[in-house]
C-alpha cells in the first residue's frame, strides 16, 4: 500500500465548517483525497463523517472553508452536480426509491434508450440483471425495491454508484448490512476501482475492514480533525484512542468492554434473578394451557411458516440466554423475529410466552407479554422522525408511564434521563428531534425505547449496525448485562464475530428454515460458515 505523496489530490476539503442549530458538526476540517487511494474516514457516532461526505457531494453547503475538485475550487449546489462531475456516493441510509422496481432504481437517469429516445424496457431489465448478478444479487429486477432485504438493497445502491464513470467513489458504511460473502465482493470492487486510479473514501466502524482495504486514514472527533496519515503505520489501539479521544494507555489498560468472554455457558443455567416486570400480562395470554415443549423457555416459537419466506422455524429462548440467529442475506432471520412479535402474518405456527400462546398478529399483545423487537430498518420502522429523542424513547412504554391514559411527565423524564445516561446518547438535549441525531445515536435511542418497556425477551435485529467501536462495545456489554439479569435475547447479526462472542447458542437459517444448531464449544465463526456451506448444496437440489 505505498502511495505517491506527490500526486495531486482529486478532491480536497480545506478548513470546512458546518453548523446545525445547536451543533457545530464540522469545525475547520481539512482532508485530501488522491487518485488511486482508499481513504478511511473514521470517528465516533456523531463525529461528523456523514456530514463531511454530504458537504463533499453538494447535499450541504459549508458555512466556512473551501472545497477543491481536480485542482480548482468547487461548490456543488446539488448532488446531481457532484455526480455529473464524477463523484459517486453510497449513503449511510439506503437512499433509493422503495416503490420503484429494482431495475429502475439501478439505472435511474441512464436507462438504455430504444427508438425515438424512449426507454427500452427489455434492455433495461436485461442490463439490470446482468449488473446485479456481478454483485451476487439474483432476483426479479421488476420487483419493487422494498421487497428486498436491507442488505440486497445496499448491494443495489453499491452497484448503482460503481457502475458509473467516476473519479471519486464515497462509501458511507457500506458493509453495515452485508454478509461476509458480499463484503468480499465489495472489496473486490474497491480493489478494481483503486487499480483504475479512482479515489475511494471509505467510512466504517469495522476496524478489521479498514486495515484490509484502506491506504490512509482520517480521524474525526467532535467535528474536528484528529489525525490524518497512512493507516498501516497506525496501531489499532492508537486508532481507537484517537477516535475516542482517550489516552492510549487508558485504552490499553482498561480495554474496550465487550461481551464478557464467559458466554458459552451450559444452556439453561439458572439466571440470577428475574427481570421484574411491572404489568403482568393477563388478557393477552389466554389460559388455553399448552405445556411448553422446552422447559423454562420464556418465549417459544413453533413451526413458524409463511409461504416463500419461512418454513417451519422453531426457536426458543430461556431467561438469561442469548440465542444467535445466523445465516446469509435473505435467510429469513428478520422474518423470524418479526413473526415472533406478530408483525408478520403467518400461514402457520404459534408463539408461546411462558407457556401461553400469544394472540396472532398483534404486536401490542407481544409487547405486553414481554416480547419486543428492535427492528433492522431504523429509518422505516424505528424512529419517529417528527418527535424528539425523549418522545421516541418513551413511546412504547407510555401506557406504563402514566395513570388513566394521562402521561406523567416526571416519570418520562426520569426514564429518559436514565437511559440517555446509560447508553450515552449524544444529543443536544432530550428535546432535540431524533432525526437530527447521527445514525449511531438513533440506534441507541431505539434500544432505549425497548429497554424502557422492561421486556422479558428482546429480539435484536442487527443491534450494532452503524454504531461506533466505543458504543458497540457498550451495547454489547449492555446485552451481556441484561442477559445476566435474566433477560432472554435473540440476537441477529451479520457480524459473525459479534454473534460468536455474544451468543450462547446459534441457530443457522437458510431459505427460511433452521438448518443447524450450534452450542457450547461449537460456537465458532468457522462452524457457522461450515453449517451454511454444508447445507447449501443438498438443499439446492
Amino acid at each position: 500500500m505505498i502511495h505517491s505523496t506527490g500526486v495531486e489530490p482529486v478532491l480536497e476539503a480545506r478548513g470546512i465548517s458546518k453548523r446545525f442549530p445547536g451543533v457545530l458538526a464540522l469545525d475547520g476540517v481539512s482532508l485530501a483525497l488522491r487518485p488511486g487511494e482508499v481513504h478511511a474516514l473514521v470517528g465516533e457516532n456523531g463525529a461528523g463523517k456523514s456530514t463531511l461526505i454530504k458537504v463533499f457531494t453538494g447535499v450541504y453547503r459549508p458555512d466556512g472553508g473551501e472545497l477543491r475538485y481536480r485542482g480548482a475550487p468547487a461548490a456543488f449546489g446539488t448532488p446531481m452536480e457532484a455526480q455529473r462531475a464524477g463523484i459517486q456516493t453510497i449513503y449511510q441510509e439506503v437512499n433509493l426509491v422503495p416503490m420503484m422496481s429494482v431495475a429502475r432504481n439501478l439505472l435511474l437517469g441512464r436507462e438504455p434508450r430504444g427508438r425515438f429516445g424512449v426507454i427500452d424496457a427489455a434492455a433495461m431489465y436485461g442490463e439490470a440483471e446482468r449488473v446485479l448478478a456481478g454483485y451476487g444479487v439474483e432476483t426479479d429486477v421488476r420487483r419493487p425495491l422494498r421487497t428486498l432485504g436491507v442488505g440486497a438493497q445496499q448491494m443495489v445502491a453499491l452497484a448503482r454508484a460503481v457502475s458509473v464513470e467516476a473519479r471519486v467513489v464515497i462509501m458511507d458504511e457500506p458493509t453495515s448490512s452485508l454478509e461476509p460473502r458480499e463484503v468480499e465482493t465489495l472489496f473486490g470492487v474497491i480493489g478494481r476501482l483503486r487499480d483504475s486510479g479512482i479515489a475511494v473514501m471509505y467510512v466504517s466502524h469495522r476496524l478489521d475492514e479498514l486495515y484490509r482495504v484502506c491506504d490512509r486514514v482520517t480521524v474525526l472527533r467532535d467535528g474536528r480533525l484528529a489525525h490524518t496519515g497512512p493507516l498501516a503505520e497506525l496501531e489499532r489501539l492508537r486508532l481507537i484512542s484517537l477516535m475516542l479521544g482517550r489516552d492510549l494507555s487508558d485504552v490499553r489498560s482498561r480495554g474496550l468492554t465487550r461481551f464478557s468472554r464467559d458466554r458459552h455457558r451450559t444452556p439453561g443455567a439458572p439466571s440470577t434473578e428475574d427481570t421484574p416486570t411491572e404489568d403482568t400480562p393477563t388478557e393477552d395470554t389466554p389460559t388455553g394451557d399448552t405445556p411448553a415443549k422446552e422447559e423454562g423457555a420464556v418465549v417459544e416459537a413453533r413451526g413458524l411458516t409463511r409461504r416463500h419466506v419461512l418454513d417451519g422455524v422453531d426457536v426458543s429462548v430461556r431467561p438469561g440466554e442469548v440465542v444467535g440467529l445466523g445465516g446469509l442475506l435473505g435467510a429469513g432471520r428478520t422474518e423470524t423475529a418479526k413473526a415472533i412479535v406478530g408483525a408478520l402474518p403467518l400461514d402457520d405456527g404459534q408463539v408461546l410466552v411462558a407457556g401461553l400462546p400469544l394472540r396472532a398478529g398483534s404486536t401490542a399483545a407481544a409487547i405486553r407479554a414481554g416480547v419486543s423487537l428492535l427492528p433492522e430498518d431504523r429509518k422505516a420502522e424505528g424512529i419517529i422522525p417528527t418527535l424528539s429523542v425523549r418522545e421516541n424513547i418513551a413511546l412504547a412504554a407510555l401506557p406504563s408511564l402514566g395513570r388513566a391514559g394521562v402521561v406523567s411527565e416526571a416519570r418520562i423524564d426520569r426514564v429518559v434521563e436514565i437511559f440517555m445516561r446509560r447508553l450515552r446518547i449524544k444529543a443536544a438535549s432530550p428535546h432535540q428531534l431524533v432525526s437530527e441525531l447521527s445514525g449511531g445515536n438513533q440506534q441507541k435511542v431505539l434500544l432505549a425505547r425497548w429497554l424502557a418497556v422492561r421486556p422479558k425477551v428482546l429480539l435484536l435485529d442487527e443491534p450494532t449496525r452503524g454504531i461506533d467501536v466505543g458504543a458497540k462495545a457498550e451495547v454489547q456489554a449492555l446485552i451481556d448485562e441484561l442477559a445476566q439479569e435474566g433477560l432472554g435475547v435473540l440476537l441477529i447479526s451479520s457480524d459473525l464475530e459479534e454473534l460468536v462472542e455474544g451468543a450462547d447458542r446459534i441457530l443457522v437459517l437458510r431459505e427460511g428454515a433452521v438448518v443447524g444448531e450450534l452450542s457450547g464449544d461449537e460456537v465458532t465463526e468457522e462452524r457457522i460458515m461450515a453449517t451454511i456451506a454444508e447445507q447449501a448444496e443438498p438443499s439446492d437440489g
Partner: protein, 317 residues
C-alpha cells in the same frame, strides 16, 4: 414470479375491472344504458375530466396535489371564449399561456419554498377563481365563441364521438409513454417515492416538480378551452369541486396519494367509473336529488373498497 406479476397487473387495473363489472351490470339492468348514444354521452362528457386527471396523475405520483385545476378549468374556458374573437389560435394559446404560467408559479413556490402543495394550490384555487371573476365582471359577462373553426374543435365529430375524445386519447397515450418510457417519467416516480433519495440519486427534483405543475395547469387550461369550444361560450359557473372529482378518479385508478406509484390507465378508468355511476343514476331516473347523492357516496365507497381489496390481494402472495 408469474403469480406475482399477475397480481401486480390486477392491482394496477383494479379500477378497469370494477369499471367492467359496472358496465355489465348496467347493461343487464337498463335497456337504454349500453346504447351507442348513451355510451357516447358518457365518454364525451368524461373526456374533459380525463384531461385534467392526466395532469393530476403526474402531480400525485410526484407526491403532490393540485387543487387549482377546477379554477383553471373555468378560467381556461373564459379566456378561450374571450380569445376566440381574435381567431382560433389565440383562443387556444391564451388559456394555455395563462394556465401554464399559473402552474409554473405554483410549481416554483412549491419547489423553492418547500410549502405544502395542498396549501399552495388551495391558494391557487381561490386566486384563480378570483382572477376569473375579475375578467368576467364578477361572473356576469359570458363571452361567446363566435369563431367557427375554434368551436369545431369542441363540436366536430368522427364516428359519433367528438374531437375532445380523440384529443384525450392521444394525450393519454403520450402521457403513458412520458411516464413509463422517459427519464422525466422516472424522475416523477422517484421524487414521489422518496424525494430525498431521488435528490441524492441525481434527480433534478425542483425542475421535475415545477414541470408537473406546469403540465397540470396546461392540461386544465386545455380542458377548459375545449369545453368552451364545445359549449360555444365561456361559462363562468363551471368547475366548482372539479378538483375533488379529478383526485377521486386518480386515486380510484390506483395511484397512491402519498406518491411514487400509479398510472394513467387507472386514472382514465377512474374518470369513466365516475361517469358510469352518474349515468346509472340517471337511468333510474326517479331518485330524488338527495337520494342521488347518497347513492353516489355509497357507490364511491364501494368502488374504493373493491379497488383496495383487489390491491390487498396482491400483498398476500
Amino acid at each position: 414470479m408469474n403469480r406475482e406479476q399477475a397480481s401486480r397487473v390486477l392491482q394496477q387495473h383494479g379500477a378497469v375491472m370494477v369499471l367492467g363489472m359496472l358496465v355489465i351490470v348496467g347493461s343487464l339492468a337498463f335497456d337504454s344504458f349500453a346504447t351507442p348514444a348513451n355510451a357516447a354521452s358518457v365518454v364525451v362528457s368524461s373526456s374533459f375530466l380525463a384531461i385534467i386527471a392526466i395532469g393530476m396523475t403526474f402531480v400525485i405520483i410526484s407526491g403532490g396535489i393540485d387543487l387549482s385545476v377546477g379554477s383553471l378549468f373555468v378560467l381556461g374556458g373564459v379566456l378561450a371564449a374571450y380569445g376566440s374573437q381574435y381567431g382560433p389560435l389565440v383562443a387556444l394559446a391564451l388559456p394555455l399561456a395563462v394556465c401554464g404560467v399559473v402552474g409554473l408559479l405554483q410549481g416554483l413556490v412549491i419547489a423553492r419554498t418547500g410549502m405544502a402543495p395542498f396549501i399552495v394550490t388551495l391558494a391557487g384555487l381561490l386566486g384563480v377563481r378570483g382572477l376569473m371573476l375579475a375578467i368576467s365582471d364578477e361572473g356576469a359577462t359570458t363571452y361567446l365563441v363566435e369563431d367557427r373553426a375554434f368551436a369545431a374543435l369542441g363540436q366536430g365529430e368522427v364516428l359519433g364521438l367528438s374531437y375532445p375524445v380523440y384529443i384525450t386519447a392521444v394525450l393519454a397515450v403520450v402521457a403513458m409513454v412520458l411516464l413509463q418510457r422517459t427519464g422525466f417519467g422516472q424522475n416523477v416516480y422517484a421524487i414521489g417515492g422518496n424525494e430525498q433519495a431521488a435528490a441524492l440519486m441525481g434527480v433534478p427534483v425542483a425542475r421535475t416538480k415545477v414541470s408537473v405543475y406546469v403540465m397540470s395547469g396546461l392540461l386544465a387550461g386545455l380542458a377548459g378551452a375545449l369545453n368552451a369550444a364545445r359549449l360555444s361560450s365561456g361559462v363562468t359557473i363551471l368547475g366548482i369541486g372539479l378538483e375533488l372529482d379529478a383526485i377521486a378518479a386518480v386515486v380510484i385508478g390506483g395511484t397512491l396519494l402519498t406518491g411514487g406509484a400509479g398510472g394513467i390507465t387507472g386514472s382514465v378508468a377512474g374518470v369513466l367509473l365516475l361517469g358510469v355511476i352518474q349515468s346509472l343514476i340517471n337511468q333510474v331516473g326517479s331518485l330524488t336529488s338527495a337520494f342521488q347523492q347518497v347513492v353516489s357516496g355509497v357507490f364511491l365507497a364501494l368502488v374504493v373498497v373493491a379497488q383496495r381489496l383487489l390491491s390487498k390481494a396482491q400483498r398476500l402472495t
